[in-house]
């Protein structure tokens, strides 16, 4: 397979809720083994793009190509099997289940040839804090640790593409650095990451590419450096010369 071909391509995707259209013909490519950050004002459709890619919202028209196959309208379960995982915004653990059982459910869509317990062990080797807390009820973990559970759970099926929505929200700066480091390590292993991040400047700093979404359309699709240095982008989304509020 051509490794330079984009792993994900959105072509004229239109989607929305009820009478409201959020994505008005969104187009973009995501290159393999890169981190791509989507930025844009509130209501631009950043989270909606993810929901549409991941089958939570059926596109009205357009195509979504993952490794060359149209996946538009497929169910999450099928997308997981194809190697996509989605880590939504906010807290997404099962609060009353233990950390181990939260991780285990990340493998629920796996086919029977996959040894889930071995995968859980590997995840806990990678994130030792999760081993330490494996029997604790997930709600007792700190926000950062809960995010780690979510990421580890998402990685259980060895995805090729990770959609991660606002991973830094509500986390300490130290924890944000840790999460970003995890994303960089994943990229080094060939995993592709598509991220929405309010902390746009820090996100672009670890990204290869950036997308600017406005009113459900792709306004700019550039290298992350170009966006970081673009005065218009700086004015609009990066808080001008000031650091964005954490």
């Amino acid at each position: 397979m051509d490794t330079n071909a984009p792993i994900l391509t959105l072509h004229d995707v239109v989607a929305g809720y009820g009478a409201m259209t959020i994505l008005n013909g969104t187009n973009f490519d995501v290159r393999r083994a890169t981190i791509t950050t989507v930025i844009g004002p509130n209501g631009a459709g950043k989270s909606t793009v993810f929901k549409t890619i991941f089958g939570m919202l059926k596109p009205r028209s357009g195509s979504i190509l993952f490794k060359g196959k149209n996946i538009a309208g497929m169910q999450p379960r099928d997308l997981l099997a194809r190697g996509i995982c989605y880590v939504p915004q906010g807290r997404n653990i099962f609060p009353e289940l233990s950390v181990r059982h939260n991780l285990e459910l990340g493998g629920i869509a796996a086919d029977s040839s996959i040894d889930i317990n071995a995968r859980i062990e590997a995840a806990m080797d990678r994130f030792p804090i999760l081993r330490q807390k494996q029997n604790a009820q997930a709600s007792t973990l700190s926000g950062g640790q809960q995010k780690l559970v979510e990421i580890a759970r998402g990685l259980l099926l060895d995805p090729e593409l990770i959609l991660i929505d606002e991973p830094s929200i509500g986390l300490s700066p130290l924890m944000v650095q840790e999460i970003f480091q995890i994303l960089k390590d994943l990229r080094a292993k060939g995993v592709t990451i598509l991220m929405v991040e309010q902390n746009a400047r820090s996100a672009l700093q670890i990204s290869d590419d950036g997308l600017v979404l406005e009113l459900g359309r792709t306004r700019m699709s550039e290298s992350a450096d170009t966006l970081l240095n673009d005065p218009r982008v700086g004015q609009l989304f990066l808080g001008g010369a000031m650091e964005p509020a954490a």
Binding site: P76, R77, P88, E104, L105, A109
Partner: protein
Amino acid sequence: MAAFIQLFVSGLATGAIYALVAVGFMLLWQTSQTINFAQGEFVMIPAFFVLWAIRFLGIDFWPAVGIGVIVSLIILGFLFKRMIVDPMIKHGVLPMVISTIALSIFLKEMVKDFYSSQAQPFPGLIPSSDLNFFGAVISTQNIFILIIASLTVVALNFLLNGTRLGRAMQATAQNPTVARILGIPVERMILYTFLINAALVALASFLISPIYLAKFTNGDVLGLAAFIAAIVGGFNQVRGAIVGGLVLGVTENLAAAYISAQYRGAIPLILLIVVILWRPHGLMGRAEERTV
């Protein structure tokens, strides 16, 4: 003392039945936000499925019980979900509640009109006899009820906490959106809880009808008891519903004997008010947080 033990054990037995009904009631609420006000009638009617099978199919008691279970699973589990909950839940909790109240009236009237308005004897699942226990007379029926209810609770607990399927069901109850993102077949998990509820009410029906006879009005008391047991125990915990059911059964029985039999019906309501004032989220429940 002997009288106290007698009352206590028979209260526990009734309470164990309340607990089974309350657990089912709560599972429906947790996984699908269904408040089933027909839950009492759901306990009343499986006994009539059995009586109906005996009378009209001319079969023996045990095969009829088998039919009762199957018909309960289909009607009170599958069809209840498909024909009432699925279409109504989109419109919110209140229309859902009203529909289940309508269903309760429908089931009650149906039994009255098409079977009988008279209380019907219902055979016990085991032969009834009395055991003498340190001077207290305890019926084998009550012991049997306690054993069956305990085994059911243990089995249910194992299913929910000890198996991957059960944890997927819990995950569905705790966060359906994320459950779907992980590829859990959310709809199927919800259907399973409806089937579990149907099995629980059928069991409760077969346990309680030999004692109180099968009558179309049985659901009034049972539905209220299950509702109160769930609230007293804490609406979001299975073990809460169990504790709530047992507390209610025992309190009711002891109060009827030692305070006033006439006020028996008021006891659950008093218990409810006291618990709500003292612990608004129930004996075992947690306060539910809600983002505003």
